[in-house]
Amino acid sequence: MATMNISRLRKSFGDTEILRGIDLDVRDGEFVALVGPSGCGKSTLLRLIAGLEVATAGKITIGTKDVTGLPPKERDVAMVFQNYALYPHLTVRNNMGFSLKLRGANKSEIERKVVDAAGILGLDALLDRYPGQLSGGQRQRVATGRAIVRDPQLFLFDEPLSNLDAKLRVQMRTEIKALHQRLRNTMVYVTHDQIEAMTLANRIVVMQSGRIEQQGAPLELYDRPANAFVAGFLGSPSMNFIKGQIRGGRVVTEDGTALPGGNSAGGSNEGREVLWGARPESLIPASQGFSARVEVVEPTGPDTQLLVRAASAPLVVLLRSRSSAAAGESINFDVDQNDVHLFDAESGVRVDAKA
C-alpha cells in the first residue's frame, strides 16, 4: 500500500510525443481510473508506472521511493493485462505462484498465498488447470489472482475487462470493486469505458492527446465537467451539444430557437458564442421550453430513449418512465437551470457565471 506521485512526466517515441507533461498524485488506498479515447496516452502512462517503458522526462515516486529509472522488479507493482498474459505452460497454481517462486519464497508459503488468493477469487477448483482450459472470465480472475498473491504496493490494471462479453464484464466489474474494498490497495486502472471508470474509481483522470483534461471524483466530473471534451466523454448516452449565442439569459441557436441559459448566461457573458450542453436525462418534457420533433422512440424497459430534433440538431432524451410519445409528434422540453452546461464555442472551456 502506497501513495504515488507523478510529476512533469513526458514520453516520446521518436518524433511522436505520447505524454506531454503529466502531473498526478494518488493517495494511499485510492482507486484511480485513467480514461480517455484510444491514443490518449493512458496505457503508456500505465506502462511507465509499471516500468515497462522508460520516461523521456519527469519523475515517478511510489511511496517514498523514486522509481523513475528502476526496472519493474524493484518497483513492487503488479499488473493485470488486457489479454491476461498468463503463462500458457503453467497451471493456474504455478501462474499465480510464479513471482513468489522467482523471489525465492519457500513452497509452503507460496502454496498458502496461492490458496488464499484462489479462495478470494473462487479459483480453488481450477488450480491444476492450464490457461488453455479456462473460460475468459476465469482467465481474468487468474490474472487478477497473480497480482493479489504478490501483495504489491500498487496494482495496475490495463483494460482488464475489455476482452469479456458485456454480461461478464458487469459481473467482473463488481468483483473488482469488492476486491478493492476488501484489500484497500492503491490501484490504477486504465479503461476506455467510462462506466467502468464511474463505477469503480474514487477518482477519475480523463486524458486526451497526452494531457490530463480533468481529474476528480466521478460525480464531480459528471456534474461539473471542466470542458466540452470531458462533458462529452463521461456519461452514456453522452451529453447533447448545440451551438448558440448568449442573449438575454438564454442561448439562441442559429435558427432562432431559444434554449434555457442556465446559471452562467447572465452578466458579462452576454453575446458570447457558446456550446450549449444538456445530459439526456436532464431534458424533461414540459408545457413550456423549446419544441422538438420526435424521430425515434426506443423503450428499454425501465427507461425510454427518444431521438428528437430541435434547432436543426439531433438530441438524445432519456426518460425515466414509459412514454406515449410517437415518431413525428412535437414535444416541448425544458432543462433545469442547474443542469445546463455552457462551454466556450472556440476553446471548449466551461463558461462560469460572471457578474
Binding site: 515497462l52 503463462y87 505452460h89 513471482s99 523471489r103
Partner: protein
C-alpha cells in the same frame, strides 16, 4: 446421391491416394524388398529374414550403425542449439538486421551437393584457403575430411553450416508467436533476462523445437550427399553412415536385399527416435 457417411472420404480421396502412392507404397516396397534376394542372373526370390540375419553378423553394419547413431547424437542437438541461438540473435529488431538474416539463410539456397564440393575445395589440405588461414594464425593445417579422426566432425560442420539457417527460420517464427505481454508479465513478476528465457521462452518454444528436432533427425539419419561426394564412407570407415552403406549395397554391389534391409532398419530407428522425441518435448498439458 452418395450417403453422407462416405462424403468426407470422397473429399479426402485425392490426399489419401497421394499418401498411399508416394508414401506407403514405397515403404511397403522397401520392407518387402528387404525380405528378398536377387540372384546373379537377376531373378528375385524370397529369402525371409536372411538379409537381416546376415546384417547381425556383419561387422560393417554394426560399425555403420554406431557411426550413424553417434553422428545423430551430436548433429541434432547441435543444429537445434545453433539454430536457436541464431534465432535469438536476429529476433530483436536491430538496424541492418535483414542483412544478417539473409546471410544466415543464404546457405539454404546452395544445394547440399554443391556445398559439399565447395567445402571440399575450401578445406583442401594443399590448396584450401581455410588451411592457409589456420597456418597463418599458427594453428597449423588440418586434414579435415581426409582424416579418420576429423572426417565425421567435418561433415557435421558442413551439414550445420547448411542447415542451421533453415531451422532458424522455424524457431524465429516460434519466437514471434510468443506474445510480448507474456514477457512483460514475467518482467513485472520479477524475472531477470535469464529467468525470462528459462521460464518463458524455453517452455513456450517446445513445439517449434520439437518440430525442428524431429524433422532434423529424420533428415540427418538419411544424411548422404556429402558422404558420397567428400569421403565415400572413409577414411577408414569413419563416415560410413548407414544411408551410404545402403546406397553402396544397392548401386555399387547390386545387393538390393541388403540395401533395403538397411533402409528398413533405418526407417525403424527413425520411427522410434521420432516418437521418443515427441514424447520428450510434449507440453505439460498434453502430458497430464
Amino acid at each position: 446421391m452418395i450417403s453422407s457417411r462416405w462424403t468426407p472420404f470422397l473429399f479426402l480421396a485425392p490426399a489419401l491416394a497421394g499418401l498411399l502412392i508416394f508414401r506407403l507404397v514405397p515403404i511397403g516396397i522397401a520392407v518387402g524388398g528387404s525380405l528378398t534376394g536377387v540372384s546373379l542372373m537377376g531373378d528375385l526370390n524370397f529369402v525371409g529374414g536372411e538379409n537381416f540375419h546376415y546384417l547381425l553378423s556383419d561387422p560393417q553394419f554394426w560399425a555403420s550403425l554406431k557411426i550413424t547413431l553417434w553422428f545423430n547424437l551430436i548433429i541434432n542437438p547441435l543444429q537445434l542449439a545453433i539454430a536457436f541461438g541464431l534465432a535469438m540473435l536476429v529476433f530483436r529488431p536491430l538496424p541492418g538486421l535483414w542483412i544478417y538474416r539473409a546471410l544466415l539463410v543464404l546457405p539454404m539456397a546452395v544445394s547440399t551437393g554443391i556445398s559439399a564440393v565447395l567445402f571440399g575445395l575450401f578445406l583442401d589440405s594443399n590448396l584450401g584457403p581455410f588451411n592457409g588461414f589456420l597456418e597463418w594464425i599458427g594453428v597449423g593445417a588440418q586434414p579435415f575430411h581426409r582424416s579418420q579422426d576429423q572426417a565425421l566432425y567435418t561433415l557435421i560442420g558442413i551439414a550445420t553450416w547448411k542447415g542451421a539457417g533453415y531451422w532458424m527460420l522455424f524457431l524465429l517464427a516460434g519466437l514471434y508467436s510468443i506474445p510480448s505481454t507474456v514477457y512483460e508479465a514475467a518482467t513485472i513478476d520479477g524475472a531477470s533476462g535469464w529467468q525470462r528465457f528459462r521460464y518463458v521462452t524455453l517452455p513456450l518454444m517446445r513445439k517449434p523445437m520439437a518440430f525442428v528436432l524431429v524433422a532434423d533427425t529424420a533428415i540427418n539419419f538419411l544424411f548422404f550427399a556429402p558422404v558420397y561426394i567428400l569421403t565415400s564412407g572413409g577414411p577408414g570407415g569413419a563416415t560410413s553412415l548407414l544411408m551410404f552403406e545402403a546406397y553402396r549395397s544397392a548401386f555399387t554391389f547390386s545387393d538390393i536385399g541388403r540395401s533395403l534391409a538397411i533402409s528398413t532398419i533405418l526407417l525403424g530407428i527413425i520411427l522410434v527416435i521420432v516418437v521418443l522425441e515427441f514424447r520428450l518435448l510434449r507440453s505439460p498439458e498434453e502430458r497430464s
